[in-house]
């Protein structure tokens, strides 16, 4: 089982307390009616699907209830770091990136 660090509880806890909630940092346009159909399609449906470090949202659903973000390596499945919602995506050094 994966262990995930909740940045609000400041505890490292079993995956079963958490729910995955899709790619992080997907920003809804402030004025949706200004968007072209292609831009709106990209916002709704198009995701990075990276092989490597992926920024994604998680919710500590059976705990504090909060959404937060994580950097996870999609090959090793390793959580590299987690951070509070609203914080910028952390910059990792090369060793972490290849984890």
């Amino acid at each position: 089982m994966l262990l995930i660090h909740c940045p609000y509880c400041d505890e490292t806890l079993p995956e079963l307390e958490f729910a995955y909630a899709g790619q992080a940092h997907v920003v809804r346009a402030a004025d949706p009616s200004s968007q072209t159909d292609e831009e709106w399609r990209d916002f709704l449906f198009i995701r990075d699907n990276v092989k490597g470090v992926h920024a994604e949202r998680w919710q500590h659903v059976h705990g504090c209830g909060r959404f937060f973000n994580a950097l996870r390596h999609t090959v090793s499945d390793k959580f590299l770091t987690t951070y509070k919602a609203g914080e910028p995506r952390p910059v990792l050094d090369d060793t972490e990136r290849s984890a």
């Binding site: 609000y8 059976h62 504090c64 209830g65």
Partner: protein
């Protein structure tokens, strides 16, 4: 080994007892979910005459009222059943000075008391979390066999677990089975 079915009207009392652990349904209490921004916390604590802990998982109590912090802006409050109307009225009176959300949950959950030398082993049958992370006198919202629960650790081997009423018969039967199985291993 004693084992009694959970009655349809959720009558409090002993449900299972073995050499390993004892499971009891405790009498109903008043419960509230309280949520507010940091600016409202001190006022609400004063109105409730109950400290509202700052750290997730920490508890405070005053007389028969108790508060457990569940999240960054959320507490669960428990009190005597007859105290519910007073808590709601006191908080409502403070609403303009300290905006908040107070929702009564008294009937949503029932509480099992779990104690005995095998209490931790019994909970661990369906609780993925490491119980060493919950200190005596603390509590957490967590998950037990897929159901969200609030777990209160009162002593090293004594817990209370708040379970949604509709899941309680399932949880009660799991705990009773665990009591029986753990006693066989002793």
């Amino acid at each position: 080994m004693t084992e009694l079915a959970l009655s349809p009207d959720f009558a409090p009392g002993l449900l299972a007892e073995s050499a390993a652990a004892r499971v009891t349904l405790i009498a109903p209490v008043a419960r509230f979910s309280l949520r507010c921004k940091p600016a409202s916390r001190a006022t609400l604590a004063r109105v409730l005459d109950l400290p509202l802990p700052e750290t997730i998982g920490h508890r405070a109590h005053a007389r028969s009222r108790e508060a457990l912090r569940l999240g960054p802006d959320e507490w669960v409050l428990t009190a005597l059943e007859g105290d519910a109307a007073g808590i709601a009225a006191d908080c409502a009176a403070a609403y303009d000075a300290a905006p908040h959300s107070l929702v009564e949950l008294s009937d949503r959950e029932v509480t099992f008391a779990i104690d005995g030398p095998g209490a931790c082993d019994l909970l661990s049958l369906s609780l993925p979390r490491d119980l060493d992370g919950i200190g005596v006198g603390q509590g957490r919202r967590t998950v037990f066999d897929g159901q969200g629960v609030v777990l209160w650790r009162d002593e090293a081997h004594s817990f209370r677990m708040d379970v949604w009423r509709s899941f309680a018969p399932h949880v009660a039967s799991l705990l009773a089975t665990g009591c029986r199985e753990l006693a066989l291993e002793m």
